[in-house]
C-alpha cells in the first residue's frame, strides 16, 4: 500500500517564486509545498516550467524572485555543495561518466561526502543488487557496455547510495523503450515504498504520472495550475488547461464519442446537457439521470443511451 500519510511540515517549500529570462517567465508566482516521504510528480507539456522548477530545488537554477526553503531553511542560507549532498539527482540520459567504471560512477555521490571508492564498494554492490544488476558482473564494466535501461539503473544507484533525503528525477525514463520504462517505474515504486525517500519526479507522460505520483502538480506555461492526488485530478480538473492535458493524453471524453459519430440531430430544449470535455463516467451518469435517457451536446447533437452503449461496445482498448 502506498503510504500517503506524511508529516505535515513541508520538506520543500516554494513561496512566490519566479524565474524570468529577459522578459519571459519560465516560472511565474509558484507556490508549492512538497512533504517528506511523498512521491511528488510535476507534469506538464514542454516549456511548462516543470524542469526549471525541479532544478531550483538543488540550485542548478536560481530563482529571480521569491524564496525556496529546504527542511525549513532558505536555500540561500546554506552552501550549495552542502545542500546538494542531501539531494540525489537522476537525469534523462543517465549521464554516467564514460571514462569511469560502474563502481566509480555510482560511488561518486559518496566521494562527494568524503567516502573513498574502496569504502563505498559494499554499499554500491548491495544497491546494484537491489536494482537488479549483479554486482559481480557489473561493478567493473564501463557505461558504453551497458544498455540504456542498465545505465539508468546505475544512475538511480548513484542517486541513492549516499542516502539523501530527497531525490530529484528529471524525465529519467523518457528515453527508454516502453518495456524498460515499465520495469524502471516498478523499481522506483518499490524503492519508494521500502525507503520512504521523498521523490520529486518530472515527466510529460500522463500515464507515468498517474502511475507513480502520490501527489501531482500540473504545470502549464510557467504556472502551477493544480496540485492534488491522482484521482482528484481526474475527477475534478480545475480548469481547461488541466483537463486538456488529460484529454490530449487519454482521449476518453465525450468529444471522442461525438468524434466517432455516435450522435443524432435533435432540438435542444428539454434534455440535460453535457460538455465535450467531460469524461465518459460523467456521460454515463448523466444518461442514467436523464428522463429520456438522452443528453444534449453542443447546440443540437444528442447522444442516447443506445448510442452510448454502441460506442462502448466498439471501443478498442
Amino acid at each position: 500500500m502506498r503510504n500517503t500519510n506524511v508529516e505535515t511540515a513541508p520538506l520543500i517549500e516554494f513561496t512566490h517564486v519566479d524565474k524570468a529570462y529577459q522578459k519571459q517567465f519560465a516560472v511565474h508566482n509558484l507556490n508549492l509545498s512538497i512533504r517528506a516521504g511523498e512521491f511528488f510528480v510535476l507534469v506538464g507539456a514542454s516549456g511548462s516550467g516543470k524542469t526549471t522548477t525541479l532544478k531550483m530545488i538543488n540550485r542548478l537554477i536560481e530563482p529571480t524572485a521569491g524564496t525556496i526553503t529546504f527542511a525549513g531553511r532558505p536555500l540561500v542560507d546554506q552552501s550549495v555543495n552542502d545542500l546538494r549532498h542531501q539531494i540525489g539527482y537522476v537525469l534523462q540520459d543517465g549521464a554516467l561518466f564514460p571514462h569511469l567504471t560502474v563502481l566509480e560512477n555510482a560511488a561518486m555521490t559518496l566521494n562527494a561526502i568524503g567516502v573513498s571508492t574502496k569504502d563505498a564498494k559494499p554499499q554500491v554492490a548491495s544497491l546494484l543488487d537491489e536494482v537488479g544488476l549483479d554486482p559481480a558482473r557489473y561493478l567493473n564494466r564501463y557505461p558504453k557496455e551497458l544498455s540504456g535501461g542498465e545505465q539508468q539503473r546505475v544512475g538511480i544507484v548513484r542517486a541513492l547510495v549516499a542516502n539523501p533525503q530527497v531525490i530529484l528525477m528529471d524525465e529519467p525514463f523518457s528515453a527508454l523503450d516502453p518495456v524498460s520504462r515499465k520495469q524502471l517505474q516498478d523499481l522506483v515504486l518499490n524503492l519508494h515504498e521500502k525507503r520512504q525517500t521523498t521523490i520529486v519526479f518530472v515527466t510529460h507522460d500522463m500515464d507515468e504520472t498517474l502511475r507513480l505520483g502520490t501527489r501531482i502538480g500540473v504545470m502549464h506555461q510557467g504556472h502551477l495550475e493544480q496540485v492534488d492526488a491522482p484521482s482528484v485530478l481526474l475527477q475534478k480538473p480545475k480548469n481547461s488547461a488541466v483537463s486538456k492535458l488529460f484529454l490530449q493524453q487519454h482521449g476518453h471524453t465525450v468529444s471522442d464519442v461525438i468524434a466517432h459519430g455516435y450522435y443524432e440531430t435533435g432540438n435542444g430544449d428539454e434534455i440535460p446537457r453535457v460538455t465535450v470535455e467531460q469524461t465518459l463516467a460523467d456521460l454515463a451518469q448523466a444518461l442514467l439521470d436523464a428522463p429520456n435517457a438522452a443528453v444534449l451536446v453542443n447546440q443540437n447533437q444528442v447522444i442516447t443511451q443506445a448510442l452510448y452503449l454502441e460506442y462502448m461496445a466498439n471501443q478498442q482498448e
Binding site: 538543488n58 542548478l60 550549495v80 555543495n81 552542502d82 545542500l83 546538494r84 549532498h85 539531494i87 539527482y89 537525469l91 534523462q92 540520459d93 549521464a95 561518466f97 564514460p98 571514462h99 561518486m108 555521490t109 566521494n111 562527494a112 530529484l168
Partner: protein, 506 residues
C-alpha cells in the same frame, strides 16, 4: 647511402652531442609550454570571452618568424640555449593551449550538470572529470607541439644553441649534402619517434602519466642544468665564428695559437652564427670573447663611417681606431689576404659578352639576372652603392642565402653573383671575377676582435693571435677554403697543417 653511413661514423661524437642537445631543447621547451598553457586553459575554461582572446594571442605569436624572435631575444638574454628555449616555448603554446581549451570546454553539458548536482568539489570536478575527459585532445595538442618544436629547434644552431641544426646549416654552407641530410633525417626521425612514444604514453592512466612526465622533467632539467653549470665553471675563453668554412678555419687557428702559449686555458668554439648582428651582440654581451671580423664590415655594419681611403692599411687603421673609441674591444693585427666583395660571372657569360671589368658588365646588365647574398644586397658598400656607381640595371635581382646563389648560377637561373675573393667556388665553378675598375669595393681584411677584459686577464693572448699578422695570402686562403668546403676535410686539421707548415706552432 654509404657516404651517409661514413659520415655518421666519422662524426659520431658530434652527432651524439647534437642529438642530445636537440632532444633536450625540444623536451624542455614543450614541458615549459605545457606548464604555461595547460593551467592557463584551465583558468579560462569558464570564461569563454577571455578564452577566445587567448586563442587569438597564441595564434598571433605563432605567425611571428622564429628568426625575428631570436634576434629580439639576444640583447636581452644573450645567446645559446636560453633564447632558443624561449622561442620554442612561444611556438609550442598555441597547439597545447588550443587543444586543452577545446577539450575542457567541449565536454557534454549533461555530464557537467551532473557533476555540479552531486556537490563535487572543484578539485574533484577538474582532476577526476574534466581533465580525464579532455585528455585525448590535450595529448594530441602536445604531440603537435612536440613535432613542431623538434623541427623549429634546428634554428637554435644559428645562435650557438647547438642541436641538429648545426649539421643542416653547415651542410648548406659547405655544399655538403650528406651533412645536410644527416641533420634533416635525424631531426625527422626524432619527430617520428617522439610522436609514437607519446601515443603509447596516452594509454596510461592519468596518475602514471603525471609520474612519467614528472620524472622526465626532473631528469632533463637536471642534465641540462648540470651541463650549463659545467660550461659556466670551466669556460675561460669562447671563440665564435660566422657561418662558413673560412671562419671555422680561423677559429681553429686562434684556438691552437692561444693554447700553445697557455695550455691550461680552456678554449671553446661556438661556430655557425647566422649573421653579423647576432655575433657582434654576443660579443658585446660578454657571451663570447673573440671572433674574426673584417675591416670593411667594422666600418660598414658595426660602426658605420665614411671610408677615408680605399687603401687596405689605412682602412684597417680607421677600423682599429673606431673600435678603440667606441667599444670595450680591441682590434688585433690583420692577416695578409683580403676577402673583398667582387662580382663574378660564369665562363659562358664572360665569353659571350667579352666581360673583364664591372664597367663591361654594366653595359650589358639589362640582359642579365643577378643573385646576391643578403648582407651584400643591402649594404652601401655592396650592391646598393655599386648599382649607383656603375649604373647597373639588371633584368632582375634577388637576395638569397650564400650557397644557394651558386646553385642558381650553376642552373643558369642567374648569370651574375656577388662573390668573396677567397671563395672556393671560384675555383670549383671556374668563375670569372670582374675587375673593380672604378675602385668601388672597400678593402676587407680580417683580424681578431677581442674583449678588452680578456686581454687584461690574459695579456699573452694578444701575442698569440698577432702571430697571424700579415700571414695567409689570398691564394692560400682559397686553397684552405677549398679543402674544407669542397673536399670536406676537417677545418681543425687544415688549420693545424697551415700553422705547422709556417712553424707558428711547434
Amino acid at each position: 647511402m654509404t657516404s651517409f653511413i661514413n659520415f655518421i661514423q666519422a662524426q659520431g661524437d658530434t652527432l651524439r652531442n647534437a642529438l642530445f642537445t636537440h632532444i633536450g631543447l625540444s623536451l624542455v621547451s614543450v614541458a615549459l609550454a605545457m606548464l604555461i598553457a595547460i593551467p592557463l586553459a584551465i583558468a579560462l575554461m569558464n570564461h569563454p570571452r577571455l578564452g577566445e582572446v587567448m586563442l587569438q594571442i597564441t595564434g598571433v605569436i605563432q605567425t611571428i618568424p622564429s628568426l625575428a624572435i631570436l634576434g629580439l631575444l639576444i640583447p636581452i638574454v644573450g645567446i645559446g640555449t636560453v633564447p632558443a628555449i624561449i622561442a620554442l616555448v612561444l611556438y609550442a603554446l598555441m597547439p597545447i593551449f588550443q587543444n586543452t581549451y577545446a577539450g575542457l570546454t567541449q565536454i557534454d553539458a549533461n555530464l557537467l550538470e551532473a557533476a555540479d548536482a552531486f556537490g563535487l568539489s572543484w578539485w574533484y570536478k577538474l582532476f577526476k572529470i574534466r581533465l580525464p575527459l579532455a585528455l585525448p585532445l590535450i595529448f594530441s595538442g602536445i604531440r603537435i607541439a612536440l613535432v613542431l618544436v623538434i623541427g623549429t629547434a634546428t634554428l637554435a644552431s644559428l645562435i650557438g644553441g647547438g642541436g641538429l641544426g648545426t649539421f643542416i646549416m653547415q651542410g648548406i654552407q659547405n655544399n655538403n649534402n650528406t651533412e645536410l641530410l644527416v641533420g634533416a633525417v635525424c631531426s625527422a626521425a626524432l619527430a617520428i619517434i617522439f610522436s609514437i612514444g607519446l601515443r603509447l604514453l596516452s594509454h596510461l592512466s592519468l596518475k602514471k602519466l603525471a609520474l612519467v612526465i614528472g620524472l622526465l622533467i626532473v631528469g632533463l632539467g637536471g642534465a641540462f642544468g648540470f651541463q650549463a653549470y659545467q660550461q659556466q665553471q670551466h669556460q675561460e675563453v669562447v671563440i665564435a665564428g660566422k657561418l662558413g668554412g673560412e671562419p671555422e678555419i680561423l677559429m681553429n687557428m686562434y684556438r691552437e695559437l692561444i693554447q700553445q702559449e697557455n695550455p691550461k686555458l680552456k678554449v671553446t668554439l661556438k661556430p655557425n652564427f647566422g649573421n653579423t648582428t647576432f655575433i657582434f651582440r654576443a660579443l658585446q654581451n660578454k657571451q663570447v670573447d673573440i671572433y674574426p671580423e673584417f675591416t670593411g664590415t667594422v666600418l660598414q655594419n658595426l660602426y658605420p663611417e665614411k671610408l677615408k681611403s680605399h687603401n687596405p692599411a689605412q682602412v684597417y687603421q680607421q677600423a682599429h681606431q673606431v673600435i678603440q673609441e667606441k667599444s670595450d674591444l680591441t682590434y688585433l693585427k690583420p692577416m695578409a689576404y683580403e676577402n673583398r666583395y667582387a662580382l663574378a660571372v660564369d665562363q659562358q657569360t664572360a665569353k659571350r659578352y667579352h666581360l673583364k671589368t664591372v664597367s663591361d658588365l654594366a653595359r650589358v646588365s639589362p640582359q642579365l639576372s643577378a643573385a646576391f647574398e643578403n648582407d651584400f644586397y643591402h649594404q652601401q658598400d655592396g650592391y646598393q652603392g655599386l648599382k649607383r656607381k656603375y649604373q647597373l640595371h639588371f633584368k632582375n635581382v634577388k637576395s638569397m642565402e650564400p650557397s644557394l646563389r651558386y646553385e642558381a648560377l650553376k642552373n643558369h637561373q642567374v648569370q651574375v653573383v656577388d662573390a668573396y675573393t677567397t671563395d672556393p667556388q671560384i675555383k670549383v665553378q671556374k668563375l670569372v671575377v670582374l675587375k673593380d675598375d672604378l675602385a668601388f669595393f672597400p678593402p676587407y681584411q680580417g683580424a681578431p676582435l677581442v674583449r678588452n677584459e680578456l686581454i687584461k686577464r690574459h695579456p699573452e693572448i694578444q701575442k698569440s693571435l698577432n702571430r697571424l699578422h700579415n700571414r695567409i695570402s689570398e691564394s692560400e686562403m682559397i686553397e684552405m677554403n677549398y679543402k674544407v668546403t669542397v673536399k670536406h676535410e676537417k677545418a681543425q686539421r687544415v688549420a693545424h697543417e697551415y700553422l705547422k707548415s709556417y712553424r707558428l706552432i711547434r
